[in-house]
């Protein structure tokens, strides 16, 4: 095998390795994103009296406004 052919084969091998590493990294990244989305707690659906409420139930002060939009 000539030196130039050997060098070309080495280059091709390196290129394939880079693609494999990039592909594996992409799969790992997508896996992490998926796992993160799966494990992130979703906000509970707003229901009942909470729908017209802002702020935490543990707040020190509760302000209630009685209003008429007119």
């Amino acid at each position: 095998m000539s030196l130039s052919k050997q060098s070309a084969k080495q280059k091709q091998g390196r290129s394939t390795l880079i693609w494999w590493v990039a592909g594996a990294a992409l799969v790992a990244a997508l896996g992490l994103i998926g796992a993160s989305l799966w494990s992130t707690p979703k906000a509970a659906p707003v229901a009942g009296g909470d729908r017209n409420t802002q702020g935490k139930a543990t707040a020190k002060v509760t302000v209630t406004e009685y209003g008429d939009y007119l």
């Binding site: 017209n52 802002q54 302000v63």
Partner: protein, 135 residues
């Protein structure tokens, strides 16, 4: 107030008290807010209604539907909610409870359950809130 809510110091609750036109526009506007709440957009409609108060003489179910469109609600679901008067009783209950607490004018504020009679401006609410926070 928004900063205090964000910080976790204050919880803000809005309740309906129909005093201006209780059988018609006040009631329908409150129902519009409740129908928006079904789509988790109570505050968007709430703010829209206050913003549009200059047009309150034209308010009707049709106008509220146009507001729903403007704030990006599911128009069909909102329309169905308004047409069926789904939240007529919800609003009436809030109004009745407010009346039972002696609320006869709006806006009336309660700070940790104690009524605050506004003499001049909303800044009095902030003062009362800060007083409670510093207790």
């Amino acid at each position: 107030m928004a900063a205090l809510i964000e910080k976790g110091d204050v919880r803000f609750v809005y309740q309906h008290r129909l005093v201006v036109d209780p059988t018609n526009r006040s009631q329908l506007a409150a129902e519009a807010a409740e129908c928006a709440a079904d789509q988790s957009k109570f505050w968007d409609m709430h703010n829209k209604l206050y913003k549009e108060q200059g047009n309150k003489n034209t308010w009707s179910a049709a106008v509220f539907k146009s507001y729903a469109k403007a704030i990006g609600l599911d128009e069909a679901a909102f329309g169905s909610c308004m047409d069926s008067r789904k939240h007529k009783a919800t609003v009436a209950k809030s109004d009745s409870e407010a009346a039972g607490k002696g609320v006869n004018s709006t806006p009336t504020f309660f700070i940790n359950g104690k009524v605050l009679t506004l003499k001049q401006s909303f800044s009095e609410v902030l003062q009362a809130v800060n007083k409670e926070l510093n207790k």
